[in-house]
């Protein structure tokens, strides 16, 4: 059996437990173990990407056969998401060890548990297990979000917790409905059962499936379930907000995964009903995100709304089930996660230098190292909006091209292009206010930053932007890989065969 598969879940879980037991009060040891674990995870995920190229494989936990036991499944999509998560995690933890982690207890423990949840959600092949990993992810994200100080953030955290707990209740109801209709919760087994479902049960199944997609829509901040995102991301500390850039993608991943495996080929009419809701909702998300970017009063709001807009773009392409659309959506997913994380870190760097004004979009004094941060902001803005030459442009181009021939082509083109213009205006306004309208008065001594706290963050942001640049440079080979991923997603028989061995799939 391929034991590599379980490493991305077990390794951070062990690291977190060890940190809690052996390094409770030793910050330097915590930092070392944390960074070492994330580097090990990155290596593992690269190994897994290589393995996934040979086709989907599954890992039965405790060696219980598939429909009864819990399985982890590795395919190109999950391997890609694991690698992306490790990259973001590395950037976030390096940013974090520069001082953020000293502002509260257990940053590194929570960080590792967060990775357990995210990696588990990407690997699991079972809906109920997905629920469990969602909870692991959310419990640690509550902890991480409250890391630091400020009493108001307790209330912002409370709102986030309550919203997600209601989402969890709906998730369980959806799981119950699906189980009642099909008698299974294993994704691959579900795909087989859905095809031969009793017509009387179709309504029940479709209700359950759409309820489930509703829960994923909360996670991925789709209009009208987006309102929690600016408050939550604005309250989280910078490295945490950067890691949270992956959390919305877990929602998008779950939508794509269930859409392409469990309800593939429009089984039980789920895809048709979902598409009818998802396309207008993601178009609205994109427009609202772009308007939010334009109307934002602070840099954090700007970053949050640009995340919302990117989720709209992503799911506008991902709602259709054509391989080209999926390819474009996957490329945009990689790009928007990297650039979203970079934007949140950059906002923190810029706002630190502005002293009293913080991240508010009002003219203030010059940032100490504006000659470095200014161009970096320009690059990030260019990538976020989707101007050439960075990966945002290639992603949007691929999405526009893939949507051209579809029925919603005209609408999608208008929405994507108009919202890009709005976002460009929003980013330009922010950049002008922060960097050009700055007064030249010398920074007051109290506000001057210690040098060390400015270099490492800048380098981290630079690395993330560099990754998106690499993504656009290598877009030829990257697109080929993503096309293979999309083809694999569109032909779920490989996934199903990997999970259900022939003898077991005959069992009722």
């Amino acid at each position: 059996m391929n034991h590599w598969l379980v490493v991305p879940i077990v390794l951070p879980a062990l690291a977190a437990t060890a940190l809690l037991i052996f390094a409770r009060n030793d910050l330097s040891r915590q930092r070392f173990v944390g960074v070492a674990t994330v580097i090990a995870l990155l290596t593992t995920s690269l190994v897994l990407v290589a393995r996934a190229a040979e086709g989907p494989s599954s890992y039965a936990i405790g060696n219980w056969p598939a429909p009864y036991g819990i399985v982890l499944v590795l395919d190109r999509l999950s391997a890609m998401m694991l690698a992306l998560t490790s990259c973001i995690a590395l950037a976030a933890i390096v940013y974090g060890i520069n001082g953020w982690d000293a502002r509260g207890k257990h940053f590194h423990v929570l960080f590792q548990f967060q990775l357990v949840g995210i990696n588990g959600a990407f690997l699991t092949g079972d809906i109920f297990n997905l629920f469990v990993f969602f909870e692991v992810m959310l419990i640690s994200s509550y902890g991480l979000m409250l890391h630091g100080d400020g009493a108001w953030r307790l209330k912002a955290g409370f709102q986030y917790v309550v919203l997600n707990l209601v989402g969890s209740s709906l998730f369980l109801m959806a799981v119950g409905l699906i189980y009642a209709a099909t008698g299974t919760l294993n994704l691959a087994h579900l795909a087989e059962r859905v095809k031969v479902i009793d017509p009387d049960d179709i309504a029940l199944l479709r209700t359950g499936a759409l309820l489930l997609f509703g829960v994923f829509a909360i996670k991925s901040a789709i209009v009208p379930l987006h309102w929690w995102l600016p408050g939550t991301y604005g309250a989280a500390s910078a490295p945490v907000a950067a890691l949270f850039a992956v959390l919305t993608k877990v929602g998008a991943y779950s939508i794509l995964r269930l859409h392409t495996v469990a309800f593939s080929g429009d089984a039980a009419g789920v895809s048709t009903s979902l598409g009818a809701v998802l396309v207008p909702a993601s178009a609205a998300t994109l427009v609202l995100g772009a308007l939010g970017v334009l109307a934002s009063r602070s840099l954090l709001e700007l970053a949050s709304y640009s995340v919302i807009a990117s989720m709209g773009t992503l799911l506008l392409a991902g709602a259709g089930l054509e391989p080209r659309q999926i390819t474009a959506a996957l490329y945009y997913m990689l790009h928007s996660t990297l650039i979203g994380a970079a934007l949140f870190l950059l906002v923190d760097v810029a706002a630190t230098g502005r002293g009293r004004a913080g991240d508010r979009l009002t003219p203030a004094r010059t940032i100490p190292n504006a000659s470095m941060i200014g161009p970096l902001f320009l690059l990030t803005a260019v990538a976020s909006v989707g101007l050439p030459p960075l990966s945002g442009f290639i992603g949007k181009l691929a999405i526009l091209d893939s949507l051209r021939a579809t029925g919603m082509g005209t609408l999608a083109w208008i929405v994507i292009l108009a919202s890009s213009l709005l976002m460009m205006a929003g980013f330009a306004r922010a950049g002008i206010t922060v960097f050009w309208a700055a007064s030249n008065e010398p920074a007051s001594p109290a506000g001057v930053l210690p040098e060390r706290s400015a270099t490492v963050p800048t380098v981290v942001v630079f690395m993330l932007v560099g990754l998106t640049a690499a993504l656009s440079l290598a877009s030829g080979g990257g697109m080929e890989m993503l096309e293979a991923t999309a083809r694999e997603m569109m032909a779920p028989s490989g996934y199903i065969d990997a999970v259900l061995s022939k003898s077991v799939s005959q069992v009722p």
């Binding site: 001082g99 630091g148 707990l165 189980y179 604005g234 706002a351 991240d359 930053l449 706290s453």
Partner: protein, 126 residues
């Protein structure tokens, strides 16, 4: 029995939704507990309602109760219990630190500190 269970789930959900929509934090926590009770009963009912049957599947046994929903409910109970504890602590700390039980955040309170250094000077400046 179907009617009894269905109306119980309905009432629990209604109470839960009503309380969750409250502005104050304590009713919200209680409402979430009610919602989780409703969900647990709902999950149990999804394995079909049977009375006095053993949860085993064996050759030749035709009457049994489905064991899987029971396992799911057990997991859900544990998670809901942990989450309730978390929300209680969160609500309590927010109440103690801000002196009010209202879940809203005043925009003027949303002061963020940037940068990595736990710099007291900067905090007092803002």
């Amino acid at each position: 029995m179907e009617y009894l269970l269905a109306s119980a789930i309905a009432i629990l959900t209604a109470v839960g939704v009503y309380l969750t929509l409250d502005r104050r934090m304590l009713p919200v926590v209680v409402g979430l507990s009610f919602l989780s009770y409703a969900v647990n009963l709902f999950l149990l009912a999804m394995g079909r309602l049977t009375v006095d049957m053993a949860p085993v599947l064996r050759e030749g046994v035709t009457d049994y109760t489905d064991p899987l929903p029971q396992a799911l409910v057990l997991t859900a109970i544990v998670i809901a219990f942990g989450m309730t504890a978390l929300t209680v602590v969160l609500g309590l700390r927010a109440y103690l630190e801000t002196g009010s039980d209202v879940a809203d955040v005043e925009r003027s309170d949303m002061v963020r500190t940037f940068g990595s250094a736990p710099d007291n000077e900067r905090r007092s400046e803002t």
